[in-house]
Amino acid sequence: MKSLAELKAIRDKMQGQVGLRDEEGDVTRVVVGMATCGIAAGARPVLTAFSDGVQEKNVKNVMVTQTGCIGLCMYEPVVEVMVPGNEKVTYVKMTPEKAMEVIDKHLIRGTVVSEYTIK
């Protein structure tokens, strides 16, 4: 290592990854339905897409986790986004591509992607 810039580059890269272990502040929860119905409909790639995306873009205070069956099996994969102080947003029939869009628009910029929400 030659310079502080190199040190900072490693830090920025790693901070996204270890940010998963952060317990500070109000955390936005992204919950992916991972019951049998969800997994069959393709919830697992959606879950990893959310998890990787959040870490790559170093989005702070977001926890990506999973849950069981929400009861909307026909809409799986279902993803709920809970921002503290706001009403829960439920996204349905998710894909990894849609997940990236939700990260960019909803988690980073705070705009709900209403075209993917439950009608």
């Binding site: 290592m1 040190l7 270890v18 998963l20 272990r21 879950l47 870490q55 999973q66 849950t67």
Partner: protein, 597 residues
């Protein structure tokens, strides 16, 4: 990239309760469930709650599982990691509330703690330098080398008020300043780290080495820059194999990344660190003995002055700080002297790590701001005393320290308050004692330790402590007179005044402080020939209450010397000439018929 991190404690405490088996089982089950690319297992340093080991914490949820067994792993994988359902029965009960699970940080054990020296312990993988860098690691070294002069660094440490965490409590900044200025034309200087943690019950230095070794390396490099040294030595005891291994890994990684070695950050500053293993002699924790040992000689102290700042290792100016002291340095540089000085009391700044042991529910490692009361540590963080027993005293400072009795429970713990009541901070071992502990016996325990560990170089310590031990033995056996007690006390002062090094100078402290607060217990042993706590065997006698004994014969079965006789359904009797006072009968009796006096 992983969606979930499983942090398993790999400190010595949890390793001995089987955490490596847990890690192996986790890796196997994760493979079976095809989760290798989604879930990462990280072996960390100590979390602090050693009593509940093996400990694991699963992120992003932050779920804290305690006392995990190998056979629980498949359930954790299939429930928690696949379906997202927390396995409640394994969760630390303190975190379970009516409306779900609360964060570990909100439990009684962690709530009042403030982690500075232990900041990364249990958070990062100590064998991965990049995780340390993620938590601002080596940023302080970068700042020092690119923005600060050595004088700035020393001033910052002085202003922070940091004092040595190893025992004496000397100002760290002043120590560095002396080493920088006292011999202006020295061709070489040394930065040493005392990791020869010898106090019985203290293990915070081990935990830092095991959980956050880079913090030490970074701090030593900063110290090297400040005093003008290019070589550091960590003197660590060989009985800490995990710590030694991780420290070596850390040194190798730091060299590989160019954070140790030549021309760090192209600043022209070079610094190297080597490990020296100690063979476990307690006296080698004394600074001059430690340096003598690094030089390759028998670990014996030498008189001061000259102090190490002038003539230390290999006769060159040297600073020696302990692990916990160093662990504070990078954060003081990054967050500033004012931040550090805002914690603690007027003359003791920052936090202190205590190793809680003895009669306490939450055995483990805690870090609290200076000035926290003993009551808060024992009753709130420590979770009180098991079996509803009463607090009698806390022993601090190990064999060099003294005890704090119940009437001083509200003392604000800092260097000066402890000295004022005849104890000392020491390295931070805190052993809690309840009504079942005999204070004379405790003093004898520590003297036995000192006698064994005295290096023998000076007479007061070599012979004096032995004579003290003999007098204490005489007292606990009921053969002493009040004159013996006077002799013991006189001897204490002689040894304190005339010993060569800190070991001898502080060896009488356990006796002096128990005499100060529990003199009546000594007198009970001498005059009444009884041990009020029921510990000293020579003064005990076991008796069976004929009215309560129903003749069940349970006691005769367990008595190892066949000292109990009697027929079925008739009261039994103990033959005192055969009784070895082991107490087995008393434990076995279901009718409370056996008593000891």
């Amino acid at each position: 990239m992983y969606r979930s991190h499983i942090l398993v404690c790999g400190g010595t405490g949890c390793t001995s309760s089987g955490s490596q088996l847990i890690i192996d089982a986790l890796e196997k089950e994760i493979k079976n469930a095809e989760l290798e690319s989604e879930v990462q297992v990280v072996r960390t340093g100590c979390f602090g709650l050693c009593a509940l080991g093996p400990i694991m914490i699963i992120y992003p949820e932050g779920t804290f599982y305690s006392m995990v067994k190998e056979e629980d792993i498949p359930e954790i994988i299939s429930e928690h990691l696949l379906k997202g359902r927390i396995v409640t029965r394994l969760v630390y009960d303190e975190t379970v509330t009516n409306d779900g699970i609360k964060s570990l940080k909100d439990t009684d054990f962690y709530k009042k703690q403030q982690r500075v020296a232990l900041k990364n312990c249990g958070v990062i993988n100590p064998e991965n330098i990049e995780e340390y860098i993620a938590y601002d690691g080596y940023a302080a070294l970068g700042k020092v080398l690119t923005e600060m002069t050595p004088e700035d660094v020393i001033d910052t440490i002085m202003e922070s008020g940091l004092r040595g965490r190893g025992g004496g409590g000397f100002s760290t900044g002043l120590k560095w300043k002396l080493a920088r200025t006292i011999v202006p034309d020295a061709d070489q200087k040394y930065v040493c780290c005392n990791a020869d943690e010898g106090d019985p019950g203290a293990f915070m230095d081990r935990s830092v080495l095991e959980g956050d070794p880079h913090a030490l390396l970074e701090a030593m490099a900063i110290a090297g820059y400040a005093i003008g040294s290019t070589q550091g030595y960590v003197y660590v005891r060989a009985e800490y194999p995990i710590a030694v291994e991780r420290l070596q890994i850390a040194i190798n990684q730091a060299k590989e990344y160019g954070l140790l070695g030549d021309n760090i950050f192209e600043s022209g500053f070079s610094f190297d660190v080597d490990i020296r293993l100690g063979a476990g002699a307690f006296v080698c924790g004394e600074e001059t003995a430690l340096m003598t040992s690094i030089e390759g000689h028998r670990g014996e102290p030498r008189p001061r002055p000259p102090f190490p700042a002038e003539k230390g290792l290999f006769q060159k100016p040297t600073i020696l700080n302990n692990v916990e002291t160093y662990a504070n340095i990078p954060q003081i540089i990054l967050k500033g002297a004012d931040w550090f000085a805002s914690m603690g009391t007027e003359k003791s700044k920052g936090t202190k790590v205590f190793a809680l042991g003895g009669k306490i529910n939450n055995t483990g490692l805690v870090e609290v701001p200076m000035g926290t009361t003993l009551r808060e540590i024992v009753e709130e963080i420590g979770g009180g005393i098991p079996d509803g027993k009463k607090f009698k005293a806390a022993q601090t400072g190990g064999p060099s320290g003294g005890c704090i009795p119940a009437q001083h429970l509200d003392i604000e713990i800092d260097y000066d308050n402890l000295i004022a009541i005849g104890s000392m901070m020491g390295s931070g071992g805190l052993i809690v004692m309840d009504e079942d502990n005999c204070m004379v016996d405790i003093a004898k325990f520590f003297l036995e330790f000192t006698v064994e560990e005295s290096c023998g170089k000076c007479t007061p310590c070599r012979i004096g402590t032995k004579r003290m031990y003999e007098l204490l033995t005489k007292i606990t056996e009921g053969n002493a007179t009040m004159e013996d007690l006077d002799k013991l006390e006189e001897l204490c002062y002689h040894i304190k005044e005339n010993s060569l090094c800190g070991l001898g100078q502080t060896a009488p402290n356990p006796v002096l402080s128990t005499l100060k607060f529990f003199r009546e217990e000594y007198i009970a042993h001498i005059v009444d020939k009884t041990c009020p706590a029921g510990v000293c065997k020579s003064l005990l006698s076991f008796e069976i209450d004929k009215k309560k004994c129903i003749g069940c014969t349970a006691c005769t079965m367990v008595c190892p010397t066949a000292a109990i006789s009697g027929t079925v359904k008739n009261p039994h009797v103990i033959d005192k000439s055969k009784c070895i006072k082991c107490g087995a009968c008393m434990e076995k009796c279901r009718f409370n018929a056996i008593s000891k006096k």
